[in-house]
Every structure is written in structure tokens, then in C-alpha cells.
């Protein structure tokens, strides 16, 4: 019965968008492109939220800051290369290809440390305790970035191919190389994640632990190692997300992760918290919804729309779009 309200609201939104799409198709497609690029980045961050929630039922509020720190660290490492912001050079290409895996691994290591220090000691404590240390970790990471570069916006080198020769207009829709880069990278990373989760022994152990931790232990699965691996992989994606964000928008600031993290968390809830494909889809949908809201409602209303969705989903359909009814234990 509650689902009914959910369908009505979704239906109304689709009808409104369809009217816009029909009255001005070019603008609609244009907004969709922007939305997909943003959504791809939200998806990368949302996956980390949902994986951690799936395995230890913790909303890791520090995850958004892991994402931002990934951007900060990649900017710092890129500083060691003789990169050229004016035009795309071979050095730029090499720098990007090298820094991606490096920053991902660094963030993975940092996130494992966070888990070890702030969450593992509270594994058997009441649920509220790790939630509070998560918020604490979020402040710690933001504090580190604040000390590092201060409160102002930090420039991220603009080293992806850009400028007139790397953009085009297809049927009135303006598309840049960067849009394509963001989407392709995100799709590649999510595909790799899907293969890892579904095909490898460790990936299966992670799913097993998420589905029944005691039973997983009885199989001989080392729970601590599996949970650490989950944080590691979530941070690989968040670190990549932070670098992609920097490459796309060319600026970062110390508490970027607060808002981005909440939006990504909303995406994870929208898709069904704990559900991995759900987080990817939820991220893309929230990116689209934000873009439509920016253009059709007004950007000052976008946060209201997004967090309205969070409240709406929690009230009307707590399991999210793809959430499955989990049997009561």
C-alpha cells in the first residue's frame, strides 16, 4: 500500500519530464548528458557506502571525505609531473594513467586504517557508537585537508583534452571529451567491481559475509579480512571518483565530501542500501534528477529535491528501488 505513493510520485515526475522532453528535446538531451556525467561520479561514491553498509550495517559518514581526499592527493601527485594544462601532451596521458592506480591504492590503504582504528574496535558495540566515530573520522579528514590547503577552493590541474577541438555538437547537443571520459571510466570501474564481486573467491566471501556473518565464519571465512577488503575496495572507487571529479571540474575544497557524500548516500538509499547494482543505478538517477532539477526547477531547489527524495524513499519505500525484501532473522 505504501508503495502506491511511491509509484504515484515516480509517475508524476516521469510525466513532467516527458512534457519537457517533448517541448524542447535538444535542451532535454543536453541536461541528460550533464546529469549522466555527475551521476557517474555519484555512483562511484555511492558504491562504497552501500558495500560497507551491506557488510557491517554502518553508514560510513567519512566516505565522502575519503573521496575528497582522493582528489587532494591526486592533485598533489600530479604536481610531480611536467603536465601541461594548455594542451594535451604525452606527459599528461602518462600522468593520468599512472596516478589513477596510485591514488586508488593510497585511498584503499587509508580506508583500511580508518576501519581498523575507528570501526573494528566497536564491532560489537551498540550501533550508534561506530556511527559517531564515522562522523568523527569525517571531521578528522576534513580537518587534515583544511590544514593542508586552507578553506579556499583548490585548483585541480586541467590536463584532460579540452578546448574547441575536443568538443562537438551532435544535433544541437554540446558534448565534451570530459563528459565521455567520466562516463567511460565509471562504467569500466563498475564493470571491474561487478566481475570482482561475482567471480572471485574474495568477492564471493564478501557477499557471503554480508548475507550471513556467522555462517560465513562457519565456512572458515576470515571476517576481519573480508571487512577490511570491503573498505579497501570502496575506497578504490572513492579515490578514483575524487580524481575524476578533479579532472572534470578542476577544483576541490576541503568539505566537498560533506555534500557529495550525502548525495551519494542518498543515491545508495535510493537504489536500495546494501545493494551494489542499486547504488550504481541510484547514483546515475540522482545525477539526472539533480540536473533536471537545476534546469527545470532552479538550482537553489536541487538540494531540497535530492534530500526530499531521501526522506520520501525512507518513508515510502525503505528498501529502495532494487532493495530486496530480506527475510527476518
Amino acid at each position: 500500500m505504501v508503495d502506491f505513493g511511491f509509484y504515484i510520485i515516480c509517475g508524476a515526475a516521469v510525466v513532467l519530464l516527458a512534457t519537457q522532453a517533448v517541448s524542447n528535446p535538444t535542451a532535454f538531451v543536453q541536461i541528460t548528458v550533464f546529469g549522466l556525467a555527475d551521476g557517474a561520479m555519484y555512483a562511484l561514491v555511492a558504491l562504497g557506502y552501500t558495500m560497507v553498509y551491506g557488510i557491517i550495517e554502518l553508514i560510513n559518514f567519512a566516505h565522502g571525505d575519503v573521496f575528497t581526499l582522493g582528489g587532494y592527493i591526486s592533485a598533489a601527485i600530479l604536481g610531480f609531473f611536467a603536465i601541461n594544462e594548455g594542451s594535451f601532451t604525452a606527459v599528461n596521458l602518462i600522468a593520468i594513467v599512472l596516478v589513477f592506480p596510485v591514488v586508488m591504492l593510497i585511498m584503499g590503504g587509508i580506508n583500511i586504517t580508518i576501519e581498523r582504528v575507528a570501526y573494528r574496535p566497536l564491532r560489537n558495540a551498540p550501533r550508534l557508537a561506530p556511527l559517531i566515530t564515522a562522523i568523527g573520522m569525517s571531521f578528522v579528514l576534513e580537518g587534515i585537508m583544511f590544514l593542508w590547503h586552507g578553506p579556499a577552493t583548490v585548483h585541480f590541474p586541467d590536463i584532460l583534452p579540452h578546448g574547441p577541438q575536443f568538443q562537438t555538437t551532435i544535433g544541437g547537443v554540446f558534448v565534451t571529451f570530459k563528459d565521455g571520459f567520466v562516463m567511460v571510466t565509471a562504467v569500466v570501474l563498475v564493470t571491474l567491481l561487478a566481475i570482482f564481486i561475482n567471480r572471485t573467491k574474495l568477492g564471493k566471501a564478501m557477499r557471503a559475509t554480508a548475507q550471513d556473518r556467522d555462517a560465513a565464519q562457519l565456512m572458515g571465512i576470515n571476517i576481519n579480512r573480508t571487512i577490511a577488503a570491503t573498505f579497501f575496495i570502496g575506497a578504490l572507487l572513492a579515490g578514483a571518483g575524487g580524481m575524476i571529479w578533479g579532472l572534470y571540474f578542476n577544483n576541490l575544497f576541503y568539505n566537498l565530501g560533506f555534500r557529495t557524500g550525502l548525495v551519494a548516500f542518498t543515491s545508495a538509499v535510493f537504489g536500495g542500501i546494501g545493494n551494489i547494482p542499486g547504488a550504481a543505478i541510484g547514483g546515475v538517477l540522482i545525477g539526472l534528477i539533480a540536473a533536471y532539477s537545476d534546469s527545470y526547477i532552479g538550482s537553489k531547489w536541487t538540494e531540497v529535491v535530492i534530500f526530499g527524495i531521501l526522506i520520501g524513499v525512507l518513508v515510502l519505500r525503505p528498501t529502495g528501488l532494487l532493495g530486496m525484501r530480506v527475510p527476518e532473522k
Binding site: K201, A205, R207, A208, Q211, L218, M219
Partner: protein
């Protein structure tokens, strides 16, 4: 020394004592039944053996090693696996993936494949449903999968917790005949059951657990014939 030996094991949940000086042995080739009513401590006994909880007193030895304080993953590696109460399958994974999880501590690919064939021979139904999601299996099939999953560890002792719970009588027959078959292949079985008459029929030896203490022990036949056991557990 027996293959698996519990000596004076005490266990607590908070301040409530769940096991009181439990002594229990399982030796090579045996089916040992542990019977008793709800809350007697049967599942707790298995939890202490598999390392999910540790005894507050006493010791547990397996294969000549002290495993009293050993963690669950190490215990599976050493050779004790369990089909837990309520089956506890991974509900959103396929039958085959559930079986693979049972072999988690092993790395011998050919051995794992061979054991999976062995499980499929034992439970042809699982072979038919190998790609099905475990949560969608029937109760009987889920029980078979839980037992098959425990077999995948190639255990030296197999522990089965309430394998007949909630199953139709015809399936209960099947499950117990499979227990016999597994044992005939040389795997010792520690069988926890509320269905005492069935358990005592297949067991070589049995223990009766009452509020955390072993109150009676003997061969399956002796206990089946015992008046106390008949009154309390067999409803005769």
C-alpha cells in the same frame, strides 16, 4: 584420545550458564547424537566446538590439538565443519556458490571439483538446481544444501544441527539415510537433534543434555530402550 574431545566445558551467555561441565567424545567412524529439549545447550555445544564462542572453563581437543581458544576459520581448516541450525545458507547466492563457500579454506581445485561431484551424487536434487538462488529452494533442498556445503570442507568431523527441523516425514527419512551414507564414507558425524528417536536409530552413541549438563550417555540402542529417555524425549 578420541578424535574430538570436550572436557568439563563450561559456557556462559552473559551471566547465564549454558553449559555445565560437558564431557563429550566423537571418535573415528562414529555417529554421535546429542539430544535434549529446547534450550538444553545443544547448539551452544556446537558453537563452542566451532569456535563461534569460547568456553569459560574446560578444554576442547581435536585431532590431538587443543582448540579451546582457536578461532572459527582455523577450526574449519583443521577439519570440523558444521551445518548450522536453521541452515543459514547464503540466500542470495546460487547453489553452486554456496557449495564453493563451503570449500573456502581449500585451494585444491581438482579436489573441490571432485567433492562437488560427490555432493551432487549424494543430493541429485541439488545438481538439478545448481544455478538456482539458494533462498528460493524448498525447505528440504535447503537442508540438503546446508549439509552439502558443510561436506565441501572435506571435514574430519561433520556437525549437523537439527537437520530434520521443519521437514516433512518423508524428507526426514531421506536426510537420516544420507547421514548414514555420509558416515559410511568414513566421516564421523556429531548429530544434534530434537527428533530423538530418529537420531538414536542412526547413532552409535548418544548423549542426553538437560539444562546444560550431560545427564545420560550410552549407545543409541541403550538410550532408545531407556525408560527415562522414552518418557522425556520419545513420547512413549
Amino acid at each position: 584420545m578420541a578424535l574430538l574431545e570436550l572436557r568439563d566445558v563450561n559456557a556462559f551467555y552473559g551471566r547465564i550458564q549454558a553449559l555445565r561441565k560437558v564431557n563429550l567424545e566423537v571418535d573415528k567412524g562414529e555417529v554421535v547424537a546429542l539430544i535434549g529439549s529446547n534450550g538444553a545447550g545443544k547448539t551452544t555445544t556446537l558453537r563452542t566446538i566451532s569456535g563461534l564462542m569460547h568456553p569459560a572453563g574446560g578444554s576442547i581437543h581435536f585431532d590431538g590439538r587443543d582448540i579451546t581458544q582457536t578461532g572459527p576459520s582455523k577450526i574449519v581448516e583443521l577439519g570440523i565443519s558444521q551445518s548450522p541450525e536453521g541452515r543459514r545458507l547464503f540466500p542470495r547466492m546460487t547453489v553452486v556458490d554456496n557449495l564453493f563457500m563451503g570449500a573456502y579454506t581449500r585451494n585444491d581445485k581438482p579436489g573441490i571439483t571432485a567433492d562437488m561431484d560427490r555432493v551432487f551424487t549424494l543430493f541429485p536434487r541439488l545438481k538439478e538446481r545448481r544455478t538456482q538462488i539458494a533462498g528460493t529452494l524448498s525447505g528440504g533442498e535447503q537442508q540438503m544444501l546446508a549439509m552439502g556445503r558443510a561436506m565441501m570442507a572435506r571435514p574430519k568431523v561433520l556437525m549437523l544441527d537439527e537437520p530434520s527441523l521443519g521437514l516433512a516425514p518423508i524428507l526426514i527419512e531421506t536426510i537420516f539415510s544420507i547421514v548414514r551414507e555420509i558416515n559410511a564414507q568414513g566421516v564421523p558425524v556429531l548429530l544434534v537433534e530434537q527428533n530423538a528417536s530418529k537420531a538414536l536409530e542412526v547413532a552409535h552413541r548418544a548423549y542426553v543434555l538437560e539444562t546444560g549438563s550431560i545427564v545420560k550417555t550410552g549407545t543409541g540402542k541403550e538410550l532408545l530402550a531407556s525408560e527415562d529417555v522414552q518418557k522425556a524425549y520419545l513420547g512413549i
